[in-house]
Symmetry: C2
Subunit: 178 residues, 2 copies
């Protein structure tokens, strides 16, 4: 019997938050999850309390920050699907945002976890954009992640070591500069 200790019931968001805390602690990168956008309609400032508010659709991705002088920006999602990632999980705004990130010289990507089979992939924004341009499919097949993305292996610390993949893209960027 194989027991996996790598994923003790934590969801991807918590694991990425832990990872970002770890990167901050060891002074490797400065990456934060953005707070959930909310419209506040009733507030008691004296007691610092919100009495009514509504969730807004985000115009950007959930995470951004700074690593080795580069702007990085990404969205992270889990799916229970085993064979593909449904694109409806990403807002059109967020895809437009990632296009802008790439255009202005940042590093944009998705972190997608296929929960059921416990595989987590890094997909560069350029590969996402290419897929959407070349396909009408509403889901990205897992084989596309396997062929054009990078698997992020479970680790004890940091949990989701996505910067090890970002390093590959920084290498490519620097080669282009030379």
């Amino acid at each position: 019997m194989k027991i996996s200790y790598a994923n003790r019931g934590m969801d991807l968001e918590s694991e990425i938050n832990d990872t970002n805390h770890y990167y901050l602690d060891i002074d490797k990168a400065v990456v934060y999850k953005k707070p959930t956008p909310i419209t506040i309609s009733k507030v008691n400032y004296k007691e610092n309390r919100i009495n009514e508010g509504y969730f807004r659709t985000p115009s950007t991705t959930d995470y951004n920050g700074l690593y080795k002088g580069y702007y990085i920006d990404f969205e992270a999602k889990e799916t229970v699907n085993k064979t593909s990632f449904p694109l409806q999980n990403i807002h059109p705004h967020q895809i437009e945002h990632l296009k802008k990130v790439v255009k202005h010289g940042g590093i944009g990507f998705l972190i997608i976890r296929f929960k059921t089979i416990n595989e987590t992939y890094y997909l560069d924004a350029n590969e996402l954009i290419k897929f959407i341009k070349d396909n009408t499919a509403k889901s990205i097949p897992i084989d596309y992640f396997r062929a054009n993305g990078h698997i992020i292996k479970d680790k004890f610390q940091p949990r989701v070591d996505y910067l090890s993949i970002v390093d590959l893209y920084i290498g490519v960027k620097n080669e282009k500069k030379i």
Copy 2:
């Protein structure tokens, strides 16, 4: 009688939000204000409504984004003081955050508006850090902004053209690289 049309009662935050929208529209930069961090304690997911929440102390600055391949990060504040900017308006967390931004190769700064005299300054994070290191004063005198910062002139569009100052710092960064 001199009538100022430059500042039609808008506060600095609204003017910077307008500026960021403008930069996005003309595809010059991708900068957003982060949503206010909130702890949600009671929520009705069906109706998408928050019934109770509390404001949290922010761990970072309010604004960050991407410009010409650079990570930029800043905090904006208004003061009614005429002669100095009280440092208590900036959380210690935010100063620590700006230090990290500088260390990791980003461009960090403050935008400070002296409302009463309608002067808005850009102060680079390095100058802020130097002031705190060299002084025990709890306020930064306006003369320090005049000597070590840059005035941001009122414009019709964009309202607070801070990227024109960021350009100066990008110039210095590129010279250092050469």
